[in-house]
């Protein structure tokens, strides 16, 4: 039965192309949340990409909207906390750090694309993304500047806005959603200012957080893996040429996973598609992305 549940969830988890472990963990957590909480269940119709815990069975008919909302919030908070515990590389990546030796401070308050969390159209994707961000920041602030208190109030305020705005169907109607998004953005802006003030007060130099990609705006590419039974990985072609030139063992190559989803890419890449043996096995080649569109991976015919 749970295999069926996981199969239903699978297309909804279109997050990291870099972190398949994180993706798998979040899928399992969502499934676990369904299995362990009698008051919550996954609703999927026609394999739609929505995470919608609701009060089930007889409780569903009698529970008040407030108790439903609280159940949803609890599920979201638990998921966010679990995500931080299991994934410190992608959704739960480090967002704040202080280097006392070099007297520098870096932070990243930017949101993750919603389709990396749940389906983009899922009304709970936004609150879950915000809560994951808040939890990651809470963890990093507590580790780096536990004596300070400015961040506690800011993060609590953001969490309160999320709690207030989440209804039984995710964020409320569109006008409310816009208002809530605006309030959340305002709070993150205020937090950014507080961090800058803290840095100034302690003589720390603000530095850019490390970026995974270059400064040029890439093209949004829709990835299709057909049939979807291959692991497709890519790396910039220059990196591949460097590995070859310096004779790096192939098991030390740093590939990025491409999911059956969307990715931002530009220029030439080396790809490796690991098809099953009956579909000719692994296949490698070079691709160039020079406009937005769809990138389809299919095994070469015998």
């Amino acid at each position: 039965m749970w295999e069926a549940v996981l199969d239903l969830i699978a297309p909804s988890a279109r997050f990291s192309r870099w972190c398949p472990v994180a993706r798998t963990a979040l899928r399992w957590m969502i499934a676990g949340s369904v299995a362990l909480q009698p008051s919550a269940q996954m609703i999927h119709s026609r394999r739609s990409l929505h995470f919608a815990p609701e009060v089930s069975g007889t409780q569903n008919e009698t529970a008040s909207p407030e108790s439903k909302r609280q159940a949803i919030m609890k599920s979201l908070k638990d998921l966010a906390a679990e995500q931080i515990r299991f994934d410190d590389a992608f959704l739960g990546k480090q967002r704040f750090s202080v280097d006392q030796h070099n007297r520098t401070l870096s932070y990243d308050l930017r949101p993750m694309p919603l389709n990396f969390v749940l389906s983009e159209t899922d009304p709970l994707a936004m609150p879950l993304e915000v809560l994951i961000r808040v939890e990651a920041l809470r963890r990093d602030f507590a580790a780096a500047i536990s004596d300070e208190r400015f961040w506690l109030a800011s993060l609590d305020r953001i969490q309160q806005i999320v709690e207030r705005c989440v209804s039984t169907s995710g964020f409320n109607v569109q006008s409310d959603q816009q208002r809530c998004n605006g309030e959340i953005d305002e709070q993150f802006e205020a937090l950014k200012q507080s961090i800058a003030d803290y840095a100034t007060a302690h003589g720390l130099r603000l530095i850019e957080p490390p970026q995974t990609r270059g400064p040029v705006a890439a093209y949004r590419v829709h990835i299709t893996i057909d049939p979807p039974r291959a692991r497709v990985r890519v790396m910039p072609l220059l990196e591949y040429k460097k590995y070859e030139h310096f004779k790096t063992p192939s098991d030390q190559y740093e590939w990025s996973d491409l999911l059956d989803s969307e990715a931002d890419m530009i220029g030439w890449y080396r790809y490796r598609a690991e098809w099953p043996k009956e579909l000719n096995g692994p296949e490698e080649g070079n691709i160039e992305i020079k406009k937005k569109g769809t990138l389809t991976f299919r095994p070469t015919q015998k």
Binding site: G214, P215, V216, L237, L238, K241, H245, F246, I266, G267
Partner: protein
């Protein structure tokens, strides 16, 4: 009220019927077109704004400080400005053509460097030029060249680009001042 250079500047700007007024306003606004055309150095929004501001300052300074300069001196300065504009335009085009790559439609140009990174240098040869390495690195110049060499070339190109437009503004403004001096004389001759 004294007829200062800035009064003349104001008169030119408010004289909507005159071609020179339109030309001057157009010259100041022209660099902003690069926000959409992306022909100049990156970042086009910042550089477009900076160039327009440099032109505006050049126009104001010329009106303020050169409006009472003798015709002969003004003609010489106008020729110098024109020469610098032509040299600057040629330099900008050569620098942009030699040291920038366009990643594709609607994308900002990427400025190259002149000194390759030590881990990339062994890969570069006639069959694998540095420009191809840039295409192979998601157009991240810092993965191919040293940061310092990229920064120096970027500054050089920005200075050449901004200076070129400033020289054009100076040339146009001195031309307008000279024309406005000629017109009253011509009008007086016509009335006589």
């Amino acid at each position: 009220m004294d007829d200062t250079g800035l009064t003349e500047f104001k008169n030119v700007l408010t004289d909507f019927g005159q071609l020179n007024s339109v030309a001057l306003k157009g010259a100041v606004v022209l660099p902003l077109a690069d926000i959409w055309l992306k022909l100049g150095p990156p970042q086009s929004k910042a550089i477009g704004g900076l160039t327009a501001l440099a032109e505006f300052l050049a126009v104001v300074c010329v009106f303020q400080f050169w409006s009472r300069v003798q015709d002969g001196k003004l003609r010489t300065r106008m020729k110098i400005a024109l020469s610098l504009f032509l040299v600057g335009m040629a330099s900008s085009l050569i620098l942009l053509g030699r040291f920038s790559v366009s990643p594709g439609q609607d994308r900002e140009k990427v400025i190259e460097g002149y000194s390759l990174r030590s881990d990339v240098r062994p890969l570069i040869n006639d069959s694998y030029p540095a420009e191809q390495a840039l295409r192979d690195s998601e157009y991240d110049a810092e993965k191919v060249w040293t940061k310092g060499s990229i920064a120096i070339l970027h500054v050089l190109i920005i200075v050449a680009w901004t200076g070129t437009f400033a020289c054009f503004a100076i040339y146009l403004t001195t031309f307008i001042i000279l024309q406005r001096r000629v017109q009253p004389k011509a009008n007086r001759a016509g009335n006589a």
